[in-house]
Symmetry: C3
Subunit: 265 residues, 3 copies
């Protein structure tokens, strides 16, 4: 197994990647807190007049399309061009794209003028973007994951990037390398923003690792195993969210090494 | 006593109502989390370009006027027209209307072009909207509740909807049926957004129950009794908010049946 | 030592200052909750059409420049003019000003058309505004505090206000009176928004005390000692944030008296 995956905490905490996030207001606080607990440095910078230059200072740019205001949309598109011009990796979370076609327009615009290194969505979103049928409801996926890895592969090739589709199992592909992760806790689906927080962690690892496939797998393992740890002390969603932040803070590469359940394809 | 009131958890968890919320950024995260814990499916969709179509997918629309941005205002008004055209119930929380006359303009616009099934505010807000004198400060009510049920009745007739005025006691009327609920915890007033979260729960129950009076009573009982449960384990406001989410998650119709203190008028 | 500093809880809880906040969406919920726990009354009012009149009702105005939307910018500038015209104190948190020159433009505009009673920033921000070199990264300060008190004094004279620079030690000056506070917890740096929450508390104390130097010192002592208390029960950042809100709620003037470590200069 690729050892580099399991040095995620060491890498992140040594490099303290500055994650520039343009993200939804539902979970913006949780994203900032989990990044701090992970050892990264969050900066929620989303004013059109500020983002182009701020990207230059950043280790990675996180664009999350949930509750995207018009001002955030213009900032996100501009920031993505700065990321392209300044060689800063971009992680995209296409929240709710199957239900809201505007999201697709924004994604295509970012693809056209900027860059996308990682797309991380739920299985419904990834299958939708890959042109495959899937069942979704509002911003949630009701898909059992059939063909999810195929969807990741297809979308990874279309966008020339790494793609992760999360659900009961998580599927990751960069078009060449592929894996399935079986870790996590059911309670992660009972807390709003577990997906958004995961996107934030992916951005931190993309700011720390050259290989974005490795970065993405590392972030997902971190989140999932922190979720498993949190569940040991907190069985209810309010307490679980608190415990999740605590668990990320104390997470070690050794725990990931020991608990990680990855099948490389 | 109307048994239907006390099947709220069963109804909500069976139907998993999709609650489309346009709500303030102070408590948007809490609203999403409490809806998830209640068994509903939250979707904070508030872009002008997205709301009209998204309402069609939703079980209920929640419009909360706290910190309403201009973009949220345009979206809320448009979404209310979609709710009217697509037969989706609307719950309105008129946050701060006595202190900010713009809120009243927005309420009247929504009434004119859209629909309102439930108005849930604090006693100061409801008395103000009913044209009665009341004491408020900022976004808080300082009213002791005198004439609160009369205010609910008057406003319910004006708007042809169900009205709830919350405070130490809670007053609910649809113009014909009326009740007073005496449950809850003083600590609910020490946590920002208890009212917003209650509005979110009302939206979930309105998405599950045909009768909006029953829906509103059910939601208020759920919140209040969860607050009482939370107070048993957490006496301070930070811990209490965490315990409140946990308590909603474990709440049962039996507990509501046992603890509910409703006087039907 | 000036006893007045140590009656902060008594003063705030007697006066229940109404704090009108225009603040970033990352930590807006935490700011509201800590104000409630402190005994103040928060009102997050930030619509351009509402702020001018709402300031008239308020005890203090808090302007925090983190993630400032264009709409918030226009509202903040207008609100500051209302504060000037209506004699309401203004607390400014210049989040991220070294990294984003737009922030400086907004600060200068507020200075020009409105009023500023307190500037509270991290050491990097205060040194930057005082025209001194400092090391920052994103929205964080990497400065060890050398010359921080000098920076406070210089900026206090420039703006004719009280200035606080926070870090491992906290430095406060109104140009004449000066002090250094050595309290707090390392974990305050692992929770997003500790600085924003402190700015909110400064606004509450500015709404309760005539002397803004005393108000600022009181607020910083309250936050720091609450942080020390919280750390006694919670050693990890998720739990710590919950404990911080609880600790503010139970904080007493006697604890501040006993634990406060202030060096008057």
């Amino acid at each position: 197994m690729d050892k580099q995956v399991f040095n995620v905490l060491k890498e992140v905490q040594e490099k303290t990647p500055l994650v520039h996030a343009i993200t939804n207001y539902v979970t913006i606080n949780d994203c900032a807190n989990i990044l701090l607990s992970f050892g990264a440095s969050p900066a929620m910078c989303e004013a059109y007049d500020e983002v182009y230059d701020f990207v230059k200072l950043s280790s990675a740019l996180y664009i999350n399309l949930g509750t995207l205001t018009k001002e955030q949309e213009t900032a996100a598109v501009l920031a993505s061009t700065s990321a392209k011009n300044n060689n800063v990796p971009v992680v995209l979370d296409p929240v709710g794209c199957p239900a809201m076609k505007r999201k697709v327009e924004v994604i295509n615009r970012i693809k056209e003028v900027g860059r996308i290194d990682v797309i991380k969505g739920n299985i419904g979103e990834i299958k939708f973007l890959a042109g495959m049928n899937s069942e979704t409801r509002g911003v949630d996926s009701l898909d059992n994951g059939e063909d999810a890895l195929e969807a990741c592969q297809k979308l990874a090739k279309d966008f020339n990037c790494t793609v992760a589709a999360t659900g009961e199992k998580d599927y990751i592909s960069n078009g060449t390398k592929n894996c399935i992760i079986e870790n996590g806790s059911e309670l992660l689906t009972k807390v709003t923003g577990a997906g958004c927080m995961l996107g934030a962690l992916c951005s931190a690892t993309c700011g720390a690792f050259e290989d974005k496939f490795v970065a993405t797998v590392s972030a997902i393992l971190s989140m999932n195993i922190a979720g498993e740890k949190a569940y040991k002390t907190a069985k209810l969603p309010g307490s679980f969210k608190v415990a999740l932040i605590d668990s990320i803070y104390t997470l070690s590469d050794e725990e990931i090494w020991k608990e990680g359940n990855v099948t490389w394809k």
